[in-house]
Symmetry: C2
Subunit: 596 residues, 2 copies
């Protein structure tokens, strides 16, 4: 045993042990030589689960999905060189979607940098502004001071990854040869711990506005007759109940993005509006529904109709509640930006409103609420009815999934068309369904990996993706095989980039298929078989319904392909939106007739 | 036609046109919305070849391989968001291996940044130190000044990517909606050109040392009796002849890394040493062969034996010739670093030496040369003979390939074991064979894509990879299908990370297979079929020989899998090296006997 090897082992063990004591329970390891000390020591830690993943791009997305599903940090480790570069896509997504990732990269030591040594690249600040914190770690030593240092960095890395806005942190470890640690000593974990149960513990904090400003806001809101709450992508347990109570107290309808998690679960959804994406497209209807005030939570909703609705009406006073300390207002029309934890904000505001009860008298807002609720109910009925009538229609895929998802299922949704169709066609349900997506940077990359990462704690898990998104992360399927994960993947295969048919370039047929349509002509049954999964191309919607129903009993990887018609899809969507909006208008006229 | 659309079109057309006039003939496009202006205009340019590739990671490596094979810059373009992040691995490799890549990324305009707009990430200086130049482009306008600007940036981007050290440059284009350009106007290409044939032309330059220093060096070298030239990875047409002439004039043997391109082609290889990796491992032999002076060209050779040989003998005066202005000396033992183009350096030095002919008299160095040449010949014979005898032996794969490669073939070699086996077993040949590999950062990522990119100009192309490398870039196979490329891929499938069996962690069986061996258990015949390729698992070496011989007639993708035994591979290598070195020693003794 050389003293260098001992120092290496003790140092790495202290680091990983403090990560674990700071609540990191999972590490995704990609094979490599320079990262040997971390990989080998991690595999020995009794409370650290090692997940092997060969392709670092998939590995990082796998960790991202796991971290999101568990709502806790997950570590990843890889060797030096382009391995690090393959982490970049998931790091960007983690940054943009506030997911705590602890990125550990092994590096050559100082004396082997920038001198043409193999597999040595410049890893310092490699991720630039895409990470919250970068640390060039000290060369391993076992002095008390260095062990305090390494435990402190571990604890601080976790704390930094979790503090608002949550996100990735990057620690770069220069390691000298020999790289093989000494792992036989069972006391290795206590090194540097100094008899504490955790070397240093960081408390979690939340943002909140000042009391007097909240009071002022409350009193202003109670005077608003036409108010609207918009909940975008946001994943906070307890938020749904609080925000709906707020809507109820203010008589404001609550627009619920599918990723707000408001559309599912057992609570009163009377005010929860889910079909806005259809009816806010209509000029007449949307003009009838323009509020004086909007309170917005979370990221901007997926719906482009909501964005345009806000942009077309700059007179709306927009109040943005952002618990992450960000400034998420692509409308550039916010009147107030409030940095406050959304759950805490709603709870405290509800308390004030409750104390002031009776302030809001009479029924001045009931027509307002009624118009929203009726438009939503009618649109929802049309979407469901006509969505189920269209053949080879992508909306129906979501309707079938929504209808048949088992209670407590997790639905992971790919970007591009699937998330938009979920927005349109996944309507309110009493079942407890968690909807997830990579909506930080909205990439089509890494989706399979992220979903499979989530599946390690979320069962049953159903992933809905388009064929290009499925293709982009085929390598991610390996995790299902290696780790024996259970997941159902529904591929909406329209042979290419369906979303482009909704964009202006679709009116320019020359080169459209070459540059945007991009039909790949791949039979995915082959690759699914290679990864040991079951593949089924369904011809009948009932097969899809049955597969979703049975997803809770699925063992291993189950892939279902639904073939749809890309060329007609945009048209079918537009047709259904049109019917929905005509029906709403008829219903409103009818309602007004009733009222007279 | 809005004036914004016209400005967009004219601006992008001027940019792309100037790229083309600066000798960029190829652009690899990944589908996306924000990048629509560049993609649609590029597809119209009569002299720009558009290659579509969906996965941006593969797209960038495809461009890298093409740029290397063509020895000219290739452009890539993608949309905003994580698409950009997927370029990172190839950008790193391009930086480290000095490949000119013109990275074009579309971005949201200023008013949509950092405010939660979809698919908007911080793309400014995204690649950090991994690119040579970053430009945040101006918002499109069609004023004469802005058109001069955009043409100048295009020409300068190409020039910067080519100037030593060559490498990637990144131009970020903020684009506002509407994104569809107006491409009907055929005069669009001349905008801003001001009747010139090229707006601005940058001359290529080379580094060279001062004349008097070269004279001094020449006169010093002629006094050296025991000198050695080491040629690492280096791709300069004309270098082989010049450096061998230099060796001849100085009576220095020339160690030729497989990527030095010295082992192939019709020229005198008397001094070209190809089996050093075997015999420099032997302590006795290597001590007999220690030079006084080493002249080193290119990157550090693949061979670890060479590195250790230099490190064990710090008294060797190492002169490093680096035409890229880099400082590639992982031994940290260089005595002189000379920034000079290697071809020019050799040519001018040869000229001086020729003028000084007769200075080096007698035969003082013939024993020196003789020892090297005999060791090399003997080792080569042993490697060939015993390599062909071992069953399921990875060395034999290379021997078979080397023997049967058609003239003018390109052999693209994966990292990890294949490049090391090529180093050991691909010996000097009269055929004209170009050997390529991603030896900048030595990653196992992107290899299929890079090889297929090369195959667009290099035919026949044979790619030799291990199974993990093959797995890592499976998505790269799509390019073969989409672009109907012809390539033969030989997979050495030893079920996992064979190289780790050569490293110290192999002596720690606990967790070895989990963390390093990583058997994936994938039957690649499925995925090859999916991409429309032919797959064959061969049982007989003659089948491999025949397949390589026939590679020049291959149409489409042809994948050949050779199953080998990972557990015994390291042992077989060691056995052959041992035999080679025993034979050399016997031969030397014999030789000495002869001399007496």
């Amino acid at each position: 045993m050389t003293s260098a090897s001992k120092a290496l082992s003790v140092y790495v063990a202290a680091f990983l042990d403090e990560l674990v004591r700071s609540n990191v329970k999972n590490i995704v390891v990609s094979p490599g030589s320079r990262s040997t000390p971390i990989a080998m020591v991690a595999a020995e830690h009794p409370d650290l689960h090692v997940w092997l993943n060969v392709d670092e791009r998939s590995a990082a997305f796998f960790a991202l999905g796991m971290a999101k599903a568990r709502r806790e940090p997950v570590a990843i480790v890889c060797t030096s060189g382009t391995a690090v570069a393959n982490y970049m896509p998931a790091v960007v997504e983690a940054k943009e979607s506030q997911v705590p990732l602890i990125v550990l990269t092994a590096d050559r030591p100082h004396e082997l940098r920038d001198i043409g040594a193999p597999q040595a690249i410049d890893q310092l600040n490699f991720f630039g502004k895409q990470v919250k914190w970068f640390v060039e770690m000290a060369i391993p030593e076992e002095s008390p001071e260095i062990l305090r240092y390494v435990r402190t960095v571990a604890a601080r890395a976790v704390s930094t990854s979790l503090s608002g806005p949550s996100g990735p942190v990057h620690l770069n470890f220069p390691f000298r040869e020999p790289l093989v640690p000494i792992i036989e000593d069972e006391h290795i974990w206590e090194s540097g711990l100094d008899h504490r149960t955790q070397f240093v513990k960081a408390a979690e904090s939340k943002l909140m506005m000042k009391d007097e400003e909240l009071e002022l806001l409350a009193s202003g809101l109670t005077r608003i007759e036409r108010g609207l709450i918009i909940c975008g992508p946001l994943d906070r347990p307890g938020f749904a109940e609080e925000v709906v109570a707020l809507g109820d107290k203010l008589s404001f309808p609550v627009i619920a993005d599918p990723l707000s998690q408001l559309r599912s679960g057992v609570y009163n959804k009377k005010l929860v509006i889910d079909s806005y994406d259809a009816f806010l497209r209509d000029e007449y209807i949307s003009q009838e529904l323009v509020p004086e005030v909007v309170i917005r939570f979370g990221a901007m909703p997926v719906s482009k109709a909501v964005l345009l609705f806000l942009k077309k009406n700059p007179q709306i006073k927009q109040i943005i509640i952002d618990g992450e300390g960000l400034w998420r207002d692509p409308t550039l029309l916010a009147s107030e930006v409030i940095h406050a934890d959304p759950v805490l904000f709603c709870r405290l505001l509800n308390k004030i409103l409750l104390e002031n009860k009776g302030r809001k008298t009479g029924e001045p807002t009931s027509n307002w609420l009624e118009s929203w609720i009726r438009a939503d109910r009618v649109a929802g009925e049309v979407l469901q009815h006509f969505g189920n009538e269209e053949q080879e229609f992508e909306g129906q895929v979501v309707l079938r999934i929504a209808e048949n998802l088992p209670d407590n299922a997790t639905l992971f949704v790919g970007n591009s068309m699937p998330i938009r169709d979920v927005d349109s066609f996944f309507l309110n349900t009493e079942r407890n369904i968690r909807i997830m997506a990579n909506r930080g940077a909205n990439g089509i990359d890494g989706t399979i990996s992220a979903a499979l990462g989530a599946s390690t704690v979320a069962e049953p898990l159903i992933l809905l993706v388009g064929d290009l998104t499925f293709y982009h992360d085929l390598n991610g399927l390996l995790a299902a095989k290696l780790h024996k994960l259970n997941a159902t993947i529904v591929i909406v295969n329209n042979e290419g980039g369906g979303i482009f048919s909704f964009l202006p370039q679709s009116e320019h047929p020359k080169n459209f298929e070459l540059l945007f349509g991009t039909p790949l002509g791949l039979d995915y049954s082959y690759v699914v078989k290679m990864y040991g999964g079951e593949f089924k191309r369904i011809d009948d919607w009932n097969e899809l319904s049955a597969a979703i129903k049975n997803s809770k009993d699925v063992e291993g990887l189950n892939v279902i392909e639904v073939r749809t018609d890309r060329s007609l899809n945009a048209e079918k969507h537009r047709k259904i939106w049109r019917i929905a909006n005509e029906t709403i208008k008829a219903n409103w006229e009818q309602g007004e007739g009733d009222a007279h």
